[in-house]
Symmetry: C2
Subunit: 185 residues, 2 copies
């Protein structure tokens, strides 16, 4: 049955929100269109009134995840939130880049472009408030520091041993938090 324009917009928002969580939790391939629609409180047939295809949904979901102002946290504050058991255990609500990075390589060029933009924007923002004597040093610390966060989160999620998993988070956080180094060359 037909619904109001406002309700239709709300449905679209709910579909994107459900997809955002489900994709991060299970990856693009393992999530079905019917599953997303059910999580949004709708039936699968209506999906194609909102999106052209599942690929379209993926691209739109990524666009939405990376939309918005983004945090203004500095590198070390971001790491202090990023490298926690809470974030590790919350794939559905956590960093989309860590959760879906490799998956995106096998998706459309549009999806990959959206991911790249997400990476670039985040690094640019973190670099504003990073340790370092000058912009080049700040940027280098941010690029490497963010890479370390993503890697540590992925590795700590892989690890079924809580000790190793925790060590990855803590050691990497300490590493990023320690005093900035000058170039060793």
């Amino acid at each position: 049955m037909r619904v109001t324009k406002e309700q239709m917009a709300e449905h679209r928002r709910r579909i994107l929100e459900a997809a955002g969580h489900l994709f991060r939790e299970k990856g693009f391939e393992a999530v079905t269109v019917a599953e997303v629609m059910q999580a949004a409180g709708l039936t699968h047939g209506g999906f194609y009134g909102h999106f052209k295809s599942k690929d379209d949904l993926i691209a739109e979901t990524l666009a939405q995840v990376f939309a918005g102002p983004g945090s203004e946290l500095g590198l070390q504050e971001y790491a202090a939130w990023y490298l926690t058991p809470g974030h590790r255990d919350n794939m559905a609500g956590g960093c989309a880049i860590a959760a879906l990075g490799n998956d995106t390589l096998r998706q459309s060029p549009e999806a990959r472009a959206k991911m790249t933009e997400g990476v670039r924007r985040l690094i640019d923002r973190l670099a504003r408030n990073a340790p370092g004597q000058n912009d080049a040093e700040k940027r280098r610390a941010t690029v490497a520091g963010y890479a370390a966060m993503v890697g540590a989160l992925v590795l700590s999620r892989i690890s079924d041993d809580p000790k190793l998993s925790g060590e990855l988070l803590e050691d990497t956080r300490d590493w990023i938090s320690s005093a900035p180094r000058t170039r060793a060359d």
Copy 2:
């Protein structure tokens, strides 16, 4: 038609080798049993004479990838190989942890356990020859350094902009290579 025992063992080896490359390149889900068998020069029906199921193949493939003596490179030497465009562009022959880490979370506990073992062994080995004043410092540098390698490789693969992609590799390599820091607390 029946083949000799030696040929059958060789077939099994080829299946595992083909699976190792295909899984790293495309992920577990996107690779079909028929595709693996074709890459091994066989037909799909014979697969179940070698493995119980596709899940079984995944676990055996991971076991094989992490078998063997492993490299004796130190942390910085490993990073110098790891963080290169050649490695970035060679998913099929590169680090299985970076290529399949997140994918493994959605597989069997056996597969995840094999991945964890791979992570642990690699870190233990790299820590032997890492910068630092004592074992604790060496370990911390290794854990964070390896996390940074994995993250940088994943991010540089995501990035469709060659400049950003290269920056991720280079800045992270410089970061790992720079003089070890003492704890800042």
